[in-house]
Amino acid sequence: MNNAFYITAGELAQKGFENTPDELMSAKHLIYSSPATLAFNSPGAQGFGVKRAGLAIPGSVMLLVSPGCCGRNTTMQSRLCGYQDRFFYLLLDDTDIVTGRHLTKIPEAVKEVFEFCDKKPSAVMICITCVDALLGTDMERVSRKCEELAGVPVVPCYMYALTREKKLPPMAAVRKAVYSLLKPQKRHSDAMNILGFFAPLNDDSEIYELLTKAGIKHIREISRCEDLAQYEEMSQANFNLVLNSEARYAAQQMEETLGIPYIEMMRMYHIDKIHNQYMSLANAIGVTFDDSAHYEAAKKAIDDFRQKHGELNFAIGEFLNADSFELAWALLSYGFGVSEIYGTVGERNFVFVKAIARLSPETKIFSNLSPTMLDYEPSGKKIDACIGNDAGYYHAGVPTVDWNEERQPFGYAGLRLLLEQLDGALKGDAK
């Protein structure tokens, strides 16, 4: 029996965002961290969680100040991702978490860590967790004390899972933290930053070519900075381009403290929307972009793929380098089917739910985190391919493209790469 809760796109669009069923709202039910969701719903499980993201400042190390449980997964993270020399832990005991007495130990611990490192760190990130969120710890003040004692920049990072749905959730807060060491300097009209990710965009993304042809010589991303000097050059930017909304607060902070304005774009897979966004960007920075060759190449890739594979039916997950609903809408508009989406409906992407409802009202929308997903069984229309390893978990044996590599796809090149990978999966290539 399939008890997993779902609602069709048609029903949901009709209800409206305000009447989204509780089962789709993670704050309204217990949370099921199924194997399908662990990659994105557990701290640092895969990709960039707060801990790994906090180390985006070149040469930095992290001191995690928390009960042992919060640092547990770092055992794997440090070993598998080459971070083992960059994590340190100050473990709290029962008395610490009630009285907050650990705060007096932190400066000494930072000093000891600094002295321990053979290669002196450029900064020490202090990561604190739910305990300090509840204790109301003023970590800015503690960090200043640490700087005085250890003589190294100290930056607080907040891994406050309790505030996940707040204005400044942990992944937005850490983005603010990693740019906080930048100091004002003269801005250069031919320099800009791309904000949003902790790994670079794929080198073949046309955005580099378009910006370069428009006269921008220095396109900087934090993940491409090899040392602190390169990182510091980011404050020379004439503007920031925000490609992930979680970086918006960091951009706002940089506007306030460094005077760098920002422009926001969204990663999209709908070819016309990609084009429209580029035109808007060109307009905003006062240049012109000729993206026609890239548009045509992407269009041809869609046509070739459809001709080769016919009217495929997809299931789309949410651990993706995409918004699940925007991607579903794009695929539907290319003439494919999307019968199941496992995703988180929000105010921001509800517009895509409505668009999906117009093209495919029967598309089922599930919440990965609902306890009812314990009983999920595939049913209904046959799925030909999955995008996202969470979708692949539900449809074992169906060709799946994980689409969650650290290097970030963007624009027409991203769309082409997705189709390429889908083609490979459908041909039976290894993931």
Binding site: I31, S33, C69, D94, A161, L162
Partner: protein, 351 residues
């Protein structure tokens, strides 16, 4: 500085130990956290998550739930999930969040029982302690709640307490049945809450994890069931004894009962001296002279450097802390330390 780890990562915490005991019992387990603790348990400390389904959920607490102590909301969510799944009891497992706000677990238990009409247990974990502490608390709560009736003793029936992946490195009861007989009841692995209810049928208990001692003592006191400690001979142990330890002084670092078994195997085969050290619980009554509890990595380094050991048998993830050691380092994986299962040849088990 005490409690500052510069070379090792934190070990499996108490809430992971508690979930390890409850995992297969057929209950609805609510980890009283914001999501991160549940993610860590399911993604790292509970390897069965990928092979056996279990109703383990996060409470999904948010800051105002914690600040305002909205236990009623938690119970509401729990009752709703009970209505959507088939479970026999509910269990709330603590984390640092309820520890900071001093959650009243007794009240929570009563509220859960009233709302769901199912038995409920609460395991007071804080995230600051280690897995065997959580195992201990979970076993005791289970026995106090379910093992209240005295059944007639079944001749030859042996209960195995503490067989969790964290303590043993195994995900199934096969190795325990192989060692102690097919009739053995492996509490928490391949058995359900009904077996906990009938714990008094056992003629004898064997404790294989330090987290099981208090439970065995409880059963001894309540039903007069004697117990002993032991650990099965694992593949990793067999690899260790392929080395030559003749005339050597050896240190074994693991959970106490696995380490004791390793010592027994070494001494049976070689003329050697063996000490045991552990980051987890060390019971004096099962220890020998020279055995030591290690509170942190500094103490491990001191023990090894001052002990004059020719060989140290330890999970290889700890080798980083023993860089200056000139003797032989031999790997003995401990899942609670490194996330490496003996069952899959010492590979890291990851999502």
């Amino acid at each position: 500085m005490k409690n500052l780890l510069k070379l090792l990562s934190p070990f499996a915490p108490d809430q992971s130990g508690a979930v390890g005991v409850l995992y297969e019992l057929g209950g609805l387990v609510v980890i009283c956290d914001a999501g991160g603790c549940a993610g860590n348990i399911c993604g790292f400390d509970e390897p069965r998550w990928f092979t056996k389904k279990s109703a383990v959920f996060s409470a999904g607490l948010r800051d105002m739930d914690a600040i305002l102590g909205r236990d009623d909301k938690l119970i509401e969510k729990t009752a709703r999930a009970v209505g959507q799944t088939q479970v026999k009891f509910t269990a709330v497992v603590g984390t640092p969040v309820p520890a900071v706000i001093a959650t009243d677990y007794r009240a929570l238990k009563r509220m859960a029982e009233n709302k769901t009409s199912l038995p409920a247990i609460c395991v007071d974990c804080t995230g600051t302690r280690l897995y065997d502490d959580g195992e201990e608390r979970a076993y005791l709560e289970l026995l106090r709640t379910f093992s209240t009736k005295e059944y007639e003793t079944e001749k030859g029936k042996v209960g195995i307490i503490g067989c969790t992946p964290l303590a043993s490195g195994y995900m199934t009861e096969k190795i325990f049945k192989g060692e102690y007989g097919n009739g053995a009841v492996t509490f928490g692995m391949g058995s359900g809450v009904e077996d906990i209810s009938k714990a008094s049928q056992c003629e004898k208990n064997i404790v294989v994890s330090t987290g099981g001692i208090k439970a065995a003592e409880y059963l001894k006191q309540r039903f007069g069931i004697p117990f002993e400690t032991d650990f099965p001979v694992t593949e990793a142990m067999q690899k260790v004894i392929a080395h030559d330890f003749s005339g050597k002084k050896v240190l074994v670092v693991h959970q106490q009962f696995a380490a004791n078994k390793m010592r027994k195997l070494l001494k049976e085969r070689f003329d050697c001296t063996v000490d045991v050290a552990t980051f987890f619980k060390l019971f004096d009554e099962f220890a020998q002279q020279g055995d030591e509890h290690l509170s942190d990595e500094e103490q491990l380094v001191r023990k090894v450097s001052e002990g004059g050991y020719d060989a140290v048998i330890i999970d290889s993830i700890c080798n980083r802390a023993l860089k200056g050691y000139r003797g032989e380092l031999i790997d003995l994986p401990h899942f609670a330390v490194s996330g490496r299962l003996d069952e899959n040849g010492g590979q890291v088990c990851l999502a």
